[in-house]
Amino acid sequence: MLRIDDLSAWYGEAQVLRGVSLEIAAGEVVTLCGRNGAGKTTLLRCVMGLHPGQRGTVELAGRTLSGQPAHRRARAGLGWVPDDRGCYATLTVAETLSLPPVVGPSPWSLEQVYDAFPHLHARRNAPSTTLSGGEQQMLALARVLRMGARLLLCDEPTEGLSPLLVAQVGDILRQAKQHGVAVLLVEQNLHFATTVADRHHLLAEGRVVESLENSEVAAREKDLLAYLGI
């Protein structure tokens, strides 16, 4: 579904990504782990086309995205779930849901979204920034599902959420996965990552230093936690 080949990125003179290559198949959830500053968010921004200083190839379902502006990449099937949850003060919850165009073959209908997230239905006419943190996260996820995005780019969707809500985020991601949606997930919560992901890439100083199957993570959990500095 997604193929990243030899991707490098710079902030001015400083290189933050150094030749990252990875692939994600349809229905696969892959995490990026690493300390702050390892380049995880920059990698997501590069795939989305929001980071101007980048070199390398990004392909979605065989179509090259490199050089395309972000709105074209979204229309090609990328679902953007940013770390700030991407809410608008000037748009209601209902408007925030219907803002992006439908881009994929199997979008959720508004009814499906409201069935799965009754809180969003109850607050549908409120400005989306007035939702609680957890509701904002659900809104960000519901929005890309309604687009029918083929690949979700999720930046720390569980950050700051209660265990109950973290579990709910997990349910949503697993549900998307069952429908063949691929996910590239930036995640600090290693335990959560193992409950949803198939594979994990460890990022350090802009490089993929290690790639692990889910089963390997449990065996080396202590080791990895120490490495991540958590």
Partner: protein, 293 residues
Amino acid sequence: MVNFLQHTFNGLVGGAFLALLALGLAVIFGMLRVVNFAHGAIYMLGAFGAYVLLTEVGLSFWWALLVMPIALALFGMALERLLVARLARLDPLYNFLLTFGLTLILQDAVKSRYGVQSSPYDAPAILSGTLDLGAFDFPAYRVFVLVMAVAVCVGVWWLLSRTRVGMVVRAATERPELSTALGIDVGRWVTPVFGFGIGLAGLAGVLAAPIRAVNPLMGADLIIVVFAVVVIGGLGSIFGSVAAGFAIGLVQAWVQALGEDWALLSQVLVFLVMAGVLLWRPAGLFGREEAPA
């Protein structure tokens, strides 16, 4: 009491021009982050265009009301494509200087052809009388101006808040980068929004022609007050700029009504209010603090 009503009415009419101009500035600033200094010159072109259409082409006020806003909106779109867009990536100061320079060019171009004295322009015959609305006789043309301005403001509000186009423009205005990542082609909306704001200034100019002195500097005097209005309402706030426009118009008229001695105060009042509002709420009455980048 009748006097008070009359001053209130005149204040609303004065406020209508401030509101229309501030609305255009706010729409443009929201989308482009450009403070369009040329807004006053466009207003002047709207009024002068109406005058020229009448005297040299023989087109009536009603034609001018239709033609000038559209023509100026197209002019604004060309301006955005050819000049403003080139400076968009630089410090906002560059576009401020560009539109300031443009103001001087437009003013002097009109001045060199038509001189500095005011050109007479009559209200259309059908609106030349007065309307008896109970308390006193309202000049029909001014009632028309007020109704038009309110209708346009409500129309723009409806467009922005109730249509898909408006929703996209709001999203693109508030968070351009996020909106592109959600599949919105933000760049596509920049030129039409700029043209729309310019068209509103042109409309205000045509409406002003029969009741304000039509001369090359008519916009230069007004635009400074409009900037203060926009700041009071909150830079980029559509509702704030319209509300502040009518409010400042009202307050100016009431202070003027106190007599000759208060004339000076009514001139500087808007700036005193602006200073006060800025001290109290730096983002303006209805403005939102800019999110840290």
